[in-house]
């Protein structure tokens, strides 16, 4: 039995930051990297299923990312994943969520899991597309925003619940293998002690390239993408002004401003 989990190393902004020279992202040095919060929950869900199962279950995490993502993959190993796969090739740079999903789907085919989890979204880009697009490439049943799950590894179907508007809960049965995107709060992710993280540092991260997945360079990166980021910027802030003085002065100034806005300043 195998559960595959797509994870991502996300970037969080440091206190002050600057936009990169090409205007399409934040300057690298102002980013703090960590495991995507949603992925922490989907990994925990898989590890919990593994721990509750009498059958042997393999929990495998995978990520499409350059070498620096090994850190979060090792964190996943520390938290109970059995194997970690990192998929990368120079040409994968600037892939949009659809291209990433194509890569993940190819890797998933090779791994042939009984279930695939992804986070609902990533905290840095927030496309909320990768998981579902992966299901589309695989042609598997899928569901988004799963908030509770009953699944026995190897079972033909799983039952999960989703939270809808107005406090409604929807219970769904789904055929396996399936792709589920996992919502925050589905469980309480465990603490990975520094000791377990250090021990995981010795474990291997398996590398897969385009050739391994039998993908062409045209299917990934910018050429394999349907969208591209044009620019990233901070919009001009609205302006506020503190009016000072006594009540009469404040009222006078306020009246002036109103007149200015009405256009009859003169």
């Amino acid at each position: 039995m195998k559960i595959l989990i797509a994870v991502k190393q996300v970037a969080a902004l440091d206190e002050d930051f600057e936009i990169r020279a090409d205007g399409r992202d934040v300057e690298e040095e102002f980013l703090i990297r960590d495991l995507n919060e949603w992925d922490d929950y989907s990994l925990e869900e898989a590890v919990k299923i593994k721990e509750a199962s009498n059958e042997p279950v393999e929990v495998v995490v995978m990520s499409v990312a350059p070498e620096e993502a090994d850190e979060v993959l090792r964190k996943c190993l520390a938290k109970g994943a059995d194997r970690a796969i990192r998929i990368w090739d120079e040409g994968m740079e600037r892939s949009d969520p659809i291209a990433i999903a194509r890569i993940l789907a190819a890797a998933a085919k090779a791994e042939a899991p009984d279930m695939l989890f992804a986070g609902v979204q990533s905290s840095d880009q927030t496309f909320a597309a990768t998981g579902i697009a992966t299901a589309a490439f695989l042609g598997w049943p899928h569901a988004a925003v799963v908030s509770s799950l009953d699944y026995a590894p190897g079972a033909k179907s799983a039952v999960f619940r989703r939270e809808l508007e107005g406090g409604l809960l929807q219970e769904v049965e789904i055929q396996c293998p399936a792709v589920l995107t996992i919502q925050l709060g589905i469980n309480t992710p465990r603490y990975a002690s520094l000791r377990s993280i250090k021990q995981a540092a010795a474990k291997p991260v398996e590398l897969r390239t385009l050739a391994d997945l039998k993908l062409s360079s045209g299917e990934v990166g910018e050429s394999g993408s349907h969208s591209r980021i044009r620019r990233m910027y901070i919009p001009d802030k609205g302006q506020a002004q503190l009016i000072e003085g006594d009540a009469a002065a404040k009222a006078r100034r306020l009246a002036e401003i109103i007149r200015e806005f009405k256009g009859d300043a003169a």
Binding site: D14, E15, S193, L194, S196
Partner: protein
């Protein structure tokens, strides 16, 4: 030759040989049972993890003998109990030595070499000394009975705060029964000893060497006179003597046989515990050995033999129970009960011939003998228990070892989990950007040197709270101003500094502590300085006592001693004495941990302040509740907090103006507690640094730069 030269007591006088042989047989049996029991106990300790002690055995032994003989540790904070125990101890020891002396002559020297010395004047003085010893023993025992029976001391109440009524180990009446059985047994042995002495005198009234020297045994003689007055004849005395002799002898032999199986064993275990004491038990926690598979303690056999011995050394005196701040506010922790629980567990699991399977040795949980995680997380690692324990039980390392296992399992408050992750990510507990660590220095009218880039005399290790907490940042700026004003060449590490790790280590996250310590050591090693100063007692403790285990020994002092020196050297002078009524709160990590009691008090005196110490001060200072990572764990809603308890104590000082602290966490905790206890407006909480600043500068220049 005078008449008294030959006086002695003939052993087994008028006993048939068979009875003497019977007595010897019983004696050997008692010793045999004692030895078996001792073996079982030692086997129990040996089932613990190995540990090699530092220091010479000789200095350890002499240190132990000094403490036992002087009773210094038993006497602390309870002179009445200490005095009574002294009487029992000296009485018992002398009576034991007396018996040993008789054995020496009767069973060894006389049969082998024909040497006799237990006679004449020596015998008479011996009799007198042993009578006095008997009185001391009985007096001490009677006081202890009064104490247990009538004084109703909370520390002698065995009801537990970490268990509920109805739990099998909530009240533990067996402890009470054992206490009384112990006292009564000794009283009976002592009492029958005197009666026996008197019966013999009456029996031998006709023999002048016995009767005429009777007042050398004053108690025996007085009782003999009384018995005779009541009509006891010499013949009656003889009969009484034989029956008492056997009764006294059998009770005494039973007592000896039972020593290893009852609380009486504290005679040995407490002494041994004192001998293996670690003077830095709480200040310098131990590293997790590289070869150890899982950190911390999961099973009873994961404790070291020394810790298992510690468990048996406990005499239930309750001093830790009384000193514990968690216990004082009703948290489910009593250091005494942690020890007693584990002891019950060890006795049940490790005294049998074969070791039970590992699955039955887990010490975490809520069953009898186990310790609940709520209990372990209630600890502030303030060291009040370790410091006051008369027999060197080291509770804090035991608790932290158990927490290490909890951390590994993630069994902790979610907020604590978050904080640890934050510290790992950012190097500080505030989740602030590393870059902002030195931001407080920006607002100063002078530049604070970057010690990573230029050499400084004094490297200031600022610490998390002093760097990031807005209220403490003001104090930090004030201290920088004082150093600047005194012309001290100082600098800080800016974002090269991380949380020192003291509290992370006490939480039990040893892996994270290693990361922090190694990172700070690398930063410190890269800087050029003569000494380190810090305003944070927590950082002070770990850099002073724990970084050396990571190969880094730096000279470091708390700011109070540095300021004292600056005043002494005339670099700072008091321009405006402050005639305020103050009290000083000894921070755990400065006071109890590192004995820094004097410098802050001398500074207050120097500033012209009147100092009125609270009852709980110096070594008995009461923790603010923030230690051991508790500052990152919310107290249960509606519960009393140690800081509030402390504020009420301070508020009882008439006319108190300033509650002086010298630790960033104290400032946070007590300013909060001042408000929540409704004492705001009555007195203020201030850092000693703020008072120093007020006193050394003219009032118009007082404003702290923003």
């Amino acid at each position: 030759m005078s008449r008294t030269d030959a006086v002695t007591r003939i052993l087994f006088e008028a006993f048939p040989t068979a009875e003497v042989r019977l007595f010897y047989a019983l004696g050997y049996a008692a010793i045999g049972i004692f030895c078996w029991g001792a073996y079982v106990q030692i086997r129990k300790y040996r089932r613990g993890a190995p540990l090699t002690l530092e220091g010479s055995l000789w200095s350890r032994a002499s240190d132990m003998v000094g403490k036992v003989v002087s009773h210094r540790t038993v006497n602390r904070r309870d002179h009445a109990a200490g005095g009574a125990h002294r009487l029992i101890f000296y009485g018992f020891a002398l009576l034991f030595l007396g018996t040993a002396t008789i054995t020496l002559q009767y069973d060894i020297l006389e049969p082998l070499f024909g040497i006799r010395f237990w006679q004449g004047r020596f015998y008479l003085v011996f009799s007198l000394v042993l009578d006095l010893a008997g009185i001391a023993l009985l007096g001490g025992l009677l006081y202890m009975m009064y104490r247990r029976g009538w004084m109703k001391l909370p520390k002698l109440d065995y009801a537990r705060t970490d268990r509920a009524l109805g739990d099998p180990d909530f009240l533990r009446p067996e402890y009470r029964r054992e206490d009384w059985a112990f006292l009564w047994t000794l009283v009976i042995i002592g009492g029958t000893g005197f009666l026996l002495e008197a019966a013999r005198l009456v029996w031998l009234h006709a023999r002048p060497d016995v009767w005429d020297t009777r007042w050398w045994s004053p108690v025996g003689a007085a009782v003999a006179e009384a018995l005779e007055a009541l009509g006891l004849t010499a013949q009656g005395g003889g009969v009484l003597r034989v029956s008492l002799w056997w009764f006294h002898g059998l009770v005494a032999l039973t007592f000896i046989a039972l020593i290893p199986f009852t609380k009486v064993k504290h005679i040995f275990t407490s002494a041994a515990s004192l001998m293996v004491r670690d003077p830095l038990a709480a200040q310098r926690l131990t590293r997790v050995p590289a070869a150890q598979e899982a950190p911390g303690v999961a099973k009873i056999t994961d404790f070291t033999w020394k810790q298992l011995l510690n468990l048996d050394a406990c005499t239930k005196c309750g001093r830790c129970h009384e000193a514990c701040p968690a216990q004082a506010v009703g948290a489910p922790l009593s250091p005494r009960d942690v020890i007693l629980s584990l002891r019950e567990f060890a006795n049940a699991a490790l005294e049998s011939a074969s070791l039970p399977p590992a699955a039955e040795l887990g010490v975490h949980g809520k069953s009898p003998g186990q310790v609940a995680m709520e209990t372990l997380w209630s600890c502030r690692t303030c060291m009040a228990c370790v410091e006051i324990c008369p027999v060197a039980v080291e509770h804090v390392p035991i608790i932290v070892q158990m927490r290490r296992k909890l951390v590994e399992d993630g069994a902790m408050d979610p907020l604590l989990t978050k904080t640890l992750q934050t510290i790992h990510k950012t190097g500080n507990s505030f989740g602030e950007s590393k870059r902002k660590r030195g931001s407080w220095a920006k607002g100063l009218p002078f530049k604070v040197k970057d010690a990573r880039k230029e050499a400084v005399d004094v490297l200031w290790f600022v610490g998390d709270y002093a760097s990031f907490d807005p209220r403490n940042q003001k104090v930090t700026q004030t201290f920088a101003t004082l150093l600047h004003q005194a012309g001290v060449d100082f600098g800080i590490l800016y974002d090269g500094e991380s949380n020192a790790g003291n509290d992370v280590r006490r939480v039990g996250e040893e892996g994270l502590y290693e990361v922090l310590a190694e990172s700070n050591i690398a930063a410190l090693a890269g800087a050029t300085f003569k000494s380190i100063v810090t305003t944070d007692p927590h950082s002070y403790n770990t850099i002073l006592n724990e970084y050396p285990d990571f190969g880094a020994k730096f000279p470091i002092e708390h700011y109070t001693t540095l300021l004292k020196k600056l005043f002494a050297a005339g670099q700072l002078t008091v321009a405006r004495p402050l005639s305020r009524r103050t009290t000083f709160h000894d921070p755990c990590h400065l006071g109890r941990f590192n004995k820094g009691y004097e410098a802050p008090r001398e500074l207050l005196k120097l500033l012209g302040c009147e100092l009125i110490d609270m009852k709980r001060c110096r070594d008995n200072s009461f923790c603010c509740g923030a230690g051991g990572g508790r500052i990152w764990i919310p107290d249960p809603v509606g519960s009393d907090k140690p800081a509030q308890n402390r504020m009420r104590e301070a508020a009882a000082i008439p006319g108190l103006q300033v509650y002086v602290v010298s630790c960033p966490k104290d400032l946070t905790m007590f300013e909060d507690a001042l408000k929540t206890t409704g004492n705001e407006g009555k007195f203020v909480v201030k850092e000693l640094i703020e008072l120093v600043r007020e006193a050394v500068v003219a009032p118009e220049t007082l404003a702290v730069p923003a």
